[in-house]
Symmetry: C2
Subunit: 232 residues, 2 copies
C-alpha cells in the first residue's frame, strides 16, 4: 500500500468545521451587502436562521472580528463593521506598508515559483475584467495577485497580516458597488509591478506598487465620499 502522495494537492477531506462554514456564510453575506453596515448581528437570530446553536455562531463572529468585518462591543454584541473615509485611508496606508515590505523580500530572496503564479494571475485578471463577470470575481482576482506577493515573501507574517485585512479591503470595495467600469484599467496597473519584479528592480517595484495602491485608494475613497454625500 503506497501512502497518499503528499504533493501539492494534499487535501482529500473537505471536512471543514461548522464554525468555518458559518464564518464563510456570514462573511459572504457582509461582503455582498446582504447585511448593511452598522447592522446588529444577533447571535440568537443567526443561530436560529442557520439551524445551529449560538456557540458556533459566536466563535465564527469572533473570527470575523479578526478579519475586521465585524466589531464586538462587550455586553452589546456583534455589529457589521462600518467604515469612515478616514479608516479607509488608514487601511490602504497599512496595505502599502505590508505589501512594500513583502515586495522587497520577494525580490531579495528571488521570485522562485512565485514568478509563474504572478504571471498567471495577471492573465486571470484580464480574463475576468470584461463584462459578464460579477464584481466579486474581479475583486477576488485582484486580491489574489496581492496575496501571491505576500505569500511568496518568505515571511508568513506578511501573509497572515494580509489575510486579516484582505476581507476588510474586499468589504470596502464591494461597498462602493461599481468599481466595475474601471476594472480593466485597474487590472493593467498591476503590470508595472510584475515587470519590475521580473527585472528584480526593488525601487521600481515598490514605486509601482505605491502607485497602484494609491490609485485604488483614491478611486475607492472618491466613490465613498460621493456615497456619503448622497446619504446626507
Amino acid at each position: 500500500m503506497d501512502p497518499k502522495q503528499d504533493s501539492d494537492g494534499f487535501r482529500p477531506l473537505d471536512r471543514e468545521g461548522l464554525v468555518q462554514r458559518v464564518a464563510r456564510l456570514l462573511s459572504k453575506a457582509i461582503v455582498t451587502g446582504q447585511l448593511s453596515q452598522g447592522e446588529r448581528l444577533s447571535e440568537s437570530v443567526v443561530a436560529r436562521q442557520l439551524g445551529v446553536s449560538r456557540a458556533p455562531v459566536r466563535e465564527a463572529a469572533r473570527l470575523l472580528e479578526n478579519s475586521g468585518l465585524v466589531t464586538y462591543l462587550p455586553n452589546r454584541g456583534f455589529f457589521v463593521r462600518s467604515m469612515s473615509a478616514r479608516e479607509l485611508g488608514n487601511l490602504y496606508e497599512f496595505r502599502l506598508v505590508i505589501e512594500s515590505a513583502a515586495v522587497r523580500r520577494l525580490i531579495r530572496d528571488g521570485l522562485g515559483e512565485s514568478e509563474a503564479k504572478l504571471i498567471g494571475q495577471i492573465e486571470e485578471m484580464r480574463r475576468v475584467a470584461g463584462p459578464g463577470f460579477d464584481m466579486l470575481t474581479q475583486v477576488e482576482a485582484d486580491m489574489q495577485f496581492h496575496r501571491l506577493i505576500c505569500a511568496g515573501s518568505g515571511n508568513p507574517k506578511f501573509l497572515n497580516t494580509f489575510e486579516q485585512i484582505a476581507m476588510e479591503s474586499e468589504l470596502t470595495i464591494m461597498m462602493i458597488g461599481r468599481l466595475y467600469d474601471d476594472a480593466q484599467r485597474l487590472a493593467e496597473t498591476h503590470v508595472p509591478i510584475l515587470d519590475a519584479l521580473l527585472r528584480h528592480d526593488e525601487a521600481e517595484a515598490v514605486e509601482a506598487l505605491r502607485y497602484h495602491i494609491e490609485v485604488a485608494r483614491d478611486l475607492v475613497v472618491e466613490q465613498f465620499r460621493k456615497m456619503e454625500d448622497e446619504q446626507d
Copy 2:
C-alpha cells in the same frame, strides 16, 4: 498554585469580562514560563483550575491565538506556541516594518503629546533597568516605548498589529530567560530613536529604530541558538 495575583499593575476593574481575566492569567502563565512551550492547554483542566466553565476559557484561548501565544489544531485543542529561530527572525523583521512605518507617520504628523510620553518612558526604563526589578517589568517597560510609537502614529492599524505581536515578542524574550545583564545597555539604545524623533529627522529615526531592533534581534536569536544547542 498561588491563590491571588492581584499585584500586577493593572486597574482592578470588576467590569472587566471574565474572558479577559482568563486571557490575562493564561498569557502571564505562558510569558513567565509556568507553561512550557508545546504544552497542551486542556480546556477542562484550565476551567477546573480557575473555577469557571469551558466557554470563557475557550474564548480566551482564541484571543491568545490571535496574539500568537497559542496555536489551535482542529479537534485537538490549544497548545502553547513553540518558536523556531527562523520564526523569531521573521517576527523581528515584521516588527521593524510596522514600527518604521509608525515612526514615519509620527514624524510627519508631529509628535504632539507623544513627545512627553516617550521622554517619560525612557525615564521609566532607566528606573527599572537596574537590579531589584524582575525581567518582566523591564521587558514591559521596553515594549511600552514601542507601543507609544505605534499608538501615536495616527493609524490605529499600526497599534493593533503591534499589540498582536507584542505578546509574542515578550514570549520570545522571556524564553531566553536572562537578557537581564544587558537591560541597561538595551535601554540606552532607545535614546537615539527619541533624539531623532525630537529633531523630526525621519531618516535618522528609522535608522536608529532599525539598529535598535536588530541589536535586540541578534541578542535574542543568539541566546536562543545557544539554548537550542544545549538541548540537543
